[in-house]
Symmetry: C2
Subunit: 222 residues, 2 copies
């Protein structure tokens, strides 16, 4: 995609943070649990959080067929943004405080996926995106499940990533101020799984749900 970056997704503020390699864009989309989808409804921009999954060079989203907002997005321009927070950047001055993060913006038209096989593939992939290994065990969607779910596909053809990492960047005249400066790393951590009370007690926790396995999500995909 390099060399063909549209003006709409080119990173202008902090241009040095812009990344346009498809592999980097895909990695961020794969690691982020959810995205925020933007669309226009009656002239009003709307932003809703939803789980996504990348398959090849497309992002899939899903929602109930009865979801009026999702229906309104079909065949319209949307913006899919996924963001991972990596740390809090403490500078000497209020002005230079920042965050370390990795984000992706994908612009495209939301296409309604009508082929049942592609819908099934996407629904399984959505579960697999959240917890790798889960889709092999969970009960597959019924025909009725598939019919009542809308699946949207957005091609990753106009997209960019923006990444900030590393220490604070204070102005030279502030470096000697006696103020602690540095980065507080942040990461999403899985806790001990809470079994459903309605479940038989003799069903063991699958390996793929052990907290360190769930947590390793990012690392395992790097």
């Amino acid at each position: 995609m390099e060399g063909a970056v549209s003006a709409r997704v080119r990173v202008r503020r902090h241009a040095d943070r812009g990344v346009y390699e498809q592999a980097v864009i895909e990695q961020i989309l794969d690691e982020a649990y959810i995205c925020h989808v933007g669309f226009v409804a009656d002239g009003q921009p709307m932003v809703l959080p939803t789980v996504h999954v990348r398959v090849g060079a497309a992002v899939y989203l899903h929602g109930a067929v009865a979801n009026a907002m999702f229906a309104a997005a079909v065949d319209h321009s949307v913006c899919v943004t996924a963001t991972i927070i990596d740390g809090l950047v403490m500078a000497r001055s209020v002005y230079d405080h920042s965050m370390n993060y990795r984000s992706v913006v994908v612009l495209g038209v939301a296409e309604d996926v009508t082929d049942p096989d592609e819908k099934r593939m996407a629904l399984r992939a959505l579960v697999e995106h959240v917890v790798a290994g889960r889709s092999r065990e969970a009960r597959e969607p019924s025909d009725s499940d598939v019919r009542s779910t809308r699946v949207l596909r957005v091609a990753i053809s106009e997209a960019s990533a923006k990444i900030r990492s590393g220490p604070p960047k204070d102005a030279a005249e502030n470096l000697a101020l006696p103020i602690w400066a540095g980065v507080v790393p942040l990461r999403l951590v899985a806790g001990d799984p809470v079994p459903d009370e309605l479940m038989a007690r003799d069903i063991p926790l699958p390996e793929y749900l052990e907290p360190e396995r769930v947590t390793a999500r990012g690392a395992s995909r790097n």
Copy 2:
């Protein structure tokens, strides 16, 4: 705000998850580090991640004056959405998988804050939102800092929260399937702070940056 909920922010899908109490909306905005701001640029919905802060019944955002996208949002309708992921909901069937989350959607017009005192207040509050206690120590913005920063204010007058919590909700016919079901809790955790290499070694880590203090963010605001 209850009783005066606009159709645009009323939660329709999973209406039982809709919450309209101002205190709940404020708590979610206070706990979330960042929001995703949606606006329309040349007909295209754009969604960008940015830090926010709630002060009273308004959300403040900021960006460089030179930031063309932020400039385009001034006096236009925006959508400010903040989302906290609390857990991964593992159901027996693919169809019933979900996440536990708390999200807020605020619709409003982005007002350009031009009063320098209000801008200063907002810039300090933004730092304080990220790490409580930090604004008392960090160097205050200079007049030049304030001039080169755009601060936007969005009133929290048309807003709603959506919350999912608790165990999976499988269909009755799936409850007996021999599949582990439950919730994997997720939370954002602070790691050991990484001091800036350019900082004098004798500056101690402030108490408010100890990982457990940073982590307690949500709890301390509940």
